[in-house]
Symmetry: C2
Subunit: 235 residues, 2 copies
C-alpha cells in the first residue's frame, strides 16, 4: 500500500525518529522537551536537540536584523526558512540517518503560525516549507494568551518581534503581545487537525503534562524502532 500523501513536507524513512514541540512563548514546551530528553537518555536512546533560530549559517544575521528593525515579514520568513533548511541538512537529517531521536524545540509550524500572523501569505509560507521533513510527532503545548503573557512577564518584558511590535498593532508592548500572539494561537489551532498536531494542555501541572507527553512518545518511538523497545522502557 502506498503511503498517504503528506499534507505538508517530505515523508522520511530514516532509522531515527523526529519529535517536535510547538507553542507560544511561555507555553512550557521547552521545559517539557528538556524533561523528555532526560528521560529518553536514561532509557538508552541517543538524542539530538535542535532549536529554532540556531544555525551557524544565519542565526546571527537574524538576531542582528531583529535588533536593527530592518526585517520585513518577507525577509523575516525567508531568513527563518534558511535557518531551518541549514539545520535540517546539517543536523536533523544526519541525526535521523544515524538512528537518533531528534528533538526539535519549534519546527516549521512556528513559521506557519508566526509568519502568517505577521501578514505573510499562507500559501506562500507553506510552499516555502515543502522541503521540510514531516516529523514523527508534533506536540502543541496550548495555553491561552494571558497565561503566556503572565509567564514570560515574570522574568522579562515581551520582545519587539515576539510582541509583533513591527506590525504597529499597539503602542504598548503588552497590548501588542496580546493581539499578535492571539493571532499566532489562532494559526496554531487551525493547524491541529489539518497537519496533525497533538495538543497538550499547557496549563496543567508540569508533571501531568510530562506523563501524557511520555506516554505518547512511547508509542511514537515504538512505531519507529519496533515494539520491543517499549517493554524495556519505564513509565
Amino acid at each position: 500500500m502506498e503511503a498517504p500523501k503528506p499534507v505538508l513536507g517530505q515523508v522520511h524513512d530514516y532509522p531515527g525518529c523526529l519529535i517536535v514541540v510547538e507553542g507560544t512563548d511561555g507555553s512550557g514546551k521547552s521545559t517539557q522537551l528538556q524533561l523528555l530528553q532526560n528521560w529518553l537518555e536514561l532509557e538508552g536512546f541517543g538524542t539530538c536537540f535542535t532549536e529554532w533560530n540556531s544555525s551557524r549559517l544565519v542565526s546571527q544575521v537574524i538576531k542582528k536584523g531583529k535588533k536593527s528593525g530592518r526585517l520585513t515579514p518577507t525577509t523575516f520568513c525567508l531568513l527563518h526558512a534558511t535557518d531551518f533548511a541549514d539545520r535540517q541538512e546539517g543536523i536533523i537529517r544526519p541525526a535521523l540517518q544515524a538512528g537518533m531521536v531528534v528533538l526539535a524545540d519549534r519546527y516549521m509550524y512556528t513559521a506557519l503560525a508566526r509568519d502568517v500572523a505577521r501578514g505573510a501569505d499562507r500559501d506562500w509560507v507553506r510552499n516555502t516549507y515543502t522541503f521540510a521533513l514531516i516529523p514523527d510527532a508534533a506536540f502543541y503545548f496550548r495555553v491561552d494568551v494571558e497565561t503566556s503573557l503572565l509567564r514570560i512577564s515574570a522574568t522579562r518584558a515581551p520582545k519587539f518581534y515576539e510582541a509583533g511590535m513591527d506590525l504597529g498593532l499597539a503602542d504598548d508592548v503588552y497590548q501588542s503581545y496580546r493581539i499578535f500572539q492571539s493571532r499566532v494561537i489562532e494559526e496554531y489551532d487551525s493547524m491541529v487537525d489539518e497537519l496533525g498536531l497533538r495538543v497538550i494542555d499547557g496549563t496543567r501541572p508540569i508533571h501531568d503534562q510530562q506523563s501524557e507527553f511520555r506516554a505518547q512518545v512511547r508509542d511514537v518511538v515504538a512505531a519507529r524502532f519496533g515494539p520491543e523497545v517499549i517493554s524495556e522502557m519505564r513509565a
Copy 2:
C-alpha cells in the same frame, strides 16, 4: 479593463520604472547596463542601480557560506531570496515610489535559472519569488556557453558555485562550468516566452547591442513616464 494576471510576481503601479538585465556571466549584461545608465542620466532621468547579492542584510553571509562550501541548493536559494526581498523593500520599491528608473543587474530570473539548474524544484523556486515586483522590462543577454567561458577565462578561472562544482558534475572546473551553465542557459531560454524576457544577442558588437537596448528602453520608459519624454531624448 483589468490588468492581465501576472505570470509571476506582483504588478507595480509606482511612478518609477524597473529595468533588469539577465544572462550568464560573461554575457556582457553588466557592461550594457552601465552604458545604459550613463545614457539615462545624460537624458535627465534619476537612476538607481542595484546588484544581485548585495544587500546589507545577508550578502556577507552568502559570501561566507559559499566560501565554507556549507550551502545546499535549498539554503542557496533561500539566502538569495532573502537578499532579493531585502533589496526590494529597502531599495527597489522606495526608488520606484520616488519615480526613478531602477536598474537591476540580475533579478529573480537569475534565481529561477540557477536554482533550478542546481536541482531545486522549479515550482518551489517560482513560488518563493511570487512576492517580487514584475519589472517593466527584463532583458536577457544571450550568449552560448563557450563564449561565456572564453570571456570570463580571459581574466580568471570560473568560481566554485558559478561552475556548479557543488553538484559534482565534473572534477575539472572548466568542464563543470560547461555542464552547469548550459543548464542555466536552458532555463533562461525556457523563460523567454513564458515570462516575457527580451532577448538581445550578446555576441554582437557592444555598440550594436547598446543601440538595440536603448531603442527598447526608450519605449519602456515612454510607456511609464508618458510619450512626451521620448521626443526630448537623443538617440
